[in-house]
Amino acid sequence: MLARWINPVFLGIVAAASIAANLAMPELRLYIHSAAYLLTGLLCVEIARDYDHKLMRLSWVLFSGEPFSLAASFPLGISAVVSWLGGVTQRDHIALEMVQLGLTCLLAGMILTWWQLRQFGLGFHARGMDWVAVGAILTGMAIFFGLSWQGGWMFPMMAGARVLLFLAAAVSILLNRFCQQMGGGEIARVIRFIIAYVATRCVMNLVFAVNKTWAPVALELEDLLNVVFPWIFLFGVTLRARVAVRAEAELARVNGIASSI
């Protein structure tokens, strides 16, 4: 198990160091992010294997699609080859397609998780205020597209990815309510990390839109969010993978006690 070798404290130190390195040397960013996403994807697959419930397993397989797609869109993956074959424009086009594919997987995974939590019959339900918040997010999406239209910098492939991202943010509201209704616990914490990941990317896009449309007033913030967001996903996934590791350790302890009696 890969998760057995990943200590969250050590991961935090690595994340902090790499964020600092990223900010100081932007040319490293793609490589570090690529490695972080690759690790996230592998952990997602490991979590999926821990589920016997088919749809929950599928949701984690879908979650793995997001980091794998992004890792592939960075230089360690296909983009270097594509760049060599078809030039920079072709490379960017493929990279955007991979981003869109990843967000589709993320959104599908979130919707499936939400649906399954409802289906378990444990009393998880959305409230009226949640739907108001969903409405607010969709309004935010409209503002974002308004800005992009005004700035004239959005092209269709980018627009598709942004729609998926804002829809994921809307599903996040419903998932967040379920987390509250769980009354704490690691699963809720993991879901909140995924929500934070989506939220960070949404904010990053809004800041990007403001910078592009008017004046580059918040370049540092955009830069910071850009280096932070892959680690949020990795932290959440690590926490979930560590649940299985801890359960295995506890199981060994219980069995050890039982056999010694």
Binding site: D50, H53, L251
Partner: protein, 168 residues
């Protein structure tokens, strides 16, 4: 008294969607339990009244089957709210002692959350047909393990199973 019929069973039985085994189980319980028989009669009356109202006003208000269904679900939701237990003491019966249930709740809570752990135990107890029977604890554990596996994964489910089996 604990009733082995949960919300889904009521709904499925009403719609005739349950498989043969579950249908037989629900029918048998309704035959023997006066409280559930009374609930069932109320449910039938409510459904009949809603259907009749739907037919009566269909021409004017265009009431459709979906609205009848949603009305019925509201009635069922009300029944569920009235019957849902709020403490482990109200779930405990026979082999399902409070001490054992509390121990399992403490195993699941750090991962699934405190409220989820409680609801999992209530749901598993609801699926245990006769809590006083000798095999009740095993059936309850199987149900709880299934639910935990779906929510928290196989490793946690195995832990719940092992700890559940080791409890005195």
């Amino acid at each position: 008294m604990k009733h082995p019929i949960d919300y889904d069973d009521w709904l499925g039985y009403l719609d005739g969607d349950l498989d043969q085994i579950r249908t037989a189980r629900v029918r048998e319980h309704i035959d023997h339990c006066s409280e559930c028989r009374s609930t069932w009669n109320e449910l039938l009356e409510a459904t009949a009244a809603l259907r009749s109202a739907a037919r009566e006003y269909a021409a004017v208000h265009a009431v459709c089957d979906d609205e009848v269904r949603s009305g019925r679900e509201r009635v069922l939701a009300r029944i569920r709210t009235l019957e849902s237990p709020s403490t482990l003491e109200s779930v405990a019966a026979g082999e399902l002692t409070v001490g054992r249930l509390r121990k399992l709740q403490h195993v699941v809570a750090p991962v699934g959350g405190a409220r989820t752990a409680f609801r999992l135990i209530v749901a598993a107890a609801g699926r245990t047909p006769v809590p006083q029977g000798t095999a009740a604890w095993r059936i309850f554990l199987e149900q709880l393990t299934d639910l935990t596996s779906a929510l928290c994964g196989r490793s946690m489910a195995r832990l719940v199973w092992e700890i559940g089996n080791s409890l005195p």
